[in-house]
Symmetry: C2
Subunit: 357 residues, 2 copies
């Protein structure tokens, strides 16, 4: 990761749950070989597998010293809190890591390298601070360029934040590759960047250039892939993040969409206004995403990816059947039941729309 | 402006036309008493009134020295080019102004104060560089809070960039005030900020916080106004700027919208892809903006503001009649024919929806 193999300690103090520590969970799921430990003193003594269902025997430990003893050599901030600040109680852990000469990886909006105390600590030991959310200095303006690609661009869209758009994208890439397709993952958020070692965290980019960066990433990925799977952000029905969602839709110019949803959720998960915004139905969301794509490049929803975390297996299967019936589209939990139905649908749609040879 | 009365020189070298120099034109229209000169050597010897239809006898001069002779004491960058860079040829003018101790006002994405040569020049004379587009350091996350206001929030939305959303908002405020209403203008772009001496240029804000800043501005304005008129940005059908438009819609939580359009325009005005994107019809845009508002706060389009710049008067009147017929809504060019029909429609809609007393 970022230049050399790592033995990461994932900092998730007090928050190491599948819902709150989604960055840690994403790294555990897709780069487990680089994780030495999770840090959460409130859950110390257990394993990542027990607490989050991923990461198997990776130990959950009390602090940076314990993670060092377990072989860690780098620290990764494992949460992405709303607003993007570092929890104050975590400063000591970051300083401890930097004092040991560990590189620190952060996807927070608040850039750690700009913090004088952290910068001084890093300078003393030669540690590097990687704020992956810091936007590139360029200012690309989108112009629908990705609409002309021969590759099939697929965007994962959602009913809310934190419903599995990044995970669905990665699982679809793997399922397409398993079918022999050349597929590329385009990371647009901090967790995706930690998994892919590249990308742009578009929600930190000045809003004029979100679509432009997305367009750049898609054009680059399409040079070597037949399927470009773009990680979505936010949702069209979210009061804070709808703009990011629409910019991705118009920057990526997908022809196909995968709609992601958590079937246990009835309202937007919004800390400041819980229960204020009921989620639209899946059918309404399908129609809205397709409708909003039309002016730039018409896109069709090809399948539904459910995040059934927390549901019993039989309820999870029922949820997939319900979603398929409501929308007339294949529906699966790509983590629990596999992404093959989605990969199959994408390949079929591409075949149906190929120009006659 | 920004702390003291000014005698501004508006830098618009080679671009002093109503379409290209929209920042200069906005300042000339709404703060003419603070403008000493326009700088454009290709049009020197004429007046602002002759060239742009605003600013009357304000002279167009060749350079900073000539503007100084005309009494200027501050420089304002009068263009907002796509991408937001300072044209290279303009560096000498900025340096000349700073060497004279003039404060420099810029709404560019590229912050002049971060340029080492400009910073050094300013330090030598004590001049100040005001990069009004620099986002505040806060990270507000929207949560639909503006939906609960007793004030009527009105957002100007558009069919494209540069169709008069800022101008329509200012004209509506004036027309409401002329009717005795308490109205406030919320500036969300650099020209609006130069006119209002406050606001946030939301297109430079990290995309996660565009709706949040908009919400903050609206809540603040509503403390003293019955009508809060919010300057819109971009348009839902624009490949680069649709995200900003949707974030404003969901952050401001308007109950009423005014749709702005240039009737001479058939396609998006996009330098990189001219002619690629035909504009939707007004009726389609009305439906789309209302539809996309619904999940957060339902809004209704109350009127159409046309920018008929460049059309003969009879064609401009025809365009207003056509727009009114197509949408069933009052339509006017607020600059040419006055914003009263829009103000009247907003007052009537507010009255219709007032709770019984």
């Amino acid at each position: 990761m970022w230049g050399r193999p790592r033995r990461l300690a994932l900092l998730a103090e007090g928050r190491f749950t599948p819902v709150d520590a989604k960055t840690a969970v994403g790294v555990l799921r897709y780069r487990p070989e680089e994780v030495a430990a999770v840090i959460d003193s409130t859950r110390a003594g257990s394993t990542a597998g027990e607490r989050a269902g991923v990461g198997g025997a990776v130990p959950v430990l009390a602090d940076v010293a314990a993670a060092a003893a377990a072989g860690a050599d780098s620290l990764l901030i494992g949460v992405a809190p709303q607003g993007g600040e570092l929890p104050t109680a975590w400063r000591a852990s970051v300083l401890d890591a930097l004092a040991r000469g560990w590189d620190v990886f952060s996807g927070l909006h608040a850039f750690l390298a700009d913090d004088p105390e952290f910068a001084a600590a890093a300078a003393r030991t030669g540690a590097r601070i990687h704020d992956v959310r810091r936007p590139p200095a360029r200012r690309p303006v989108a112009a629908g360029r990705a609409a002309a690609l021969e590759a099939s661009v697929v965007l994962t869209v959602g009913s809310d934040c934190n419903v599995g758009k990044m995970t669905a994208a990665v699982e679809i890439v793997r399922a397409l590759e398993a079918r022999g397709e050349r597929a590329a993952f385009v990371a647009t958020g901090q967790t995706g960047m930690f998994i892919a070692d590249q990308g742009v965290t578009v929600d930190a980019v000045p809003s004029d250039f979100v679509a432009g960066f997305t367009e750049e990433l898609v054009l680059e990925a399409a040079r070597t892939a037949t399927f470009v799977i773009v990680e979505g952000q936010g949702s069209l029905n979210h009061p804070a993040y709808s703009g990011v969602a629409l910019a991705l839709l118009h920057g990526a110019c997908p022809s196909l969409l995968v709609l992601c949803h958590h079937p246990g959720r009835t309202h937007l998960r919004l800390a400041a206004a819980p229960g204020a915004f009921p989620l639209p139905s899946l059918a309404e969301l399908v129609e809205a995403y397709e409708r909003m794509s039309r002016w730039i490049r018409p896109a069709a929803v090809a399948g539904i990816a459910l995040n059934t975390l927390g549901l019993a297996e039989s309820r999870a299967r029922d949820a997939c059947e319900d979603a398929a019936r409501e929308t007339g589209l294949p529906a699966t939990d790509p983590v629990r039941f596999g992404a093959e139905p989605l990969a199959e649908a994408l390949v079929a749609r591409r075949r149906d729309h190929a120009p006659p040879s």
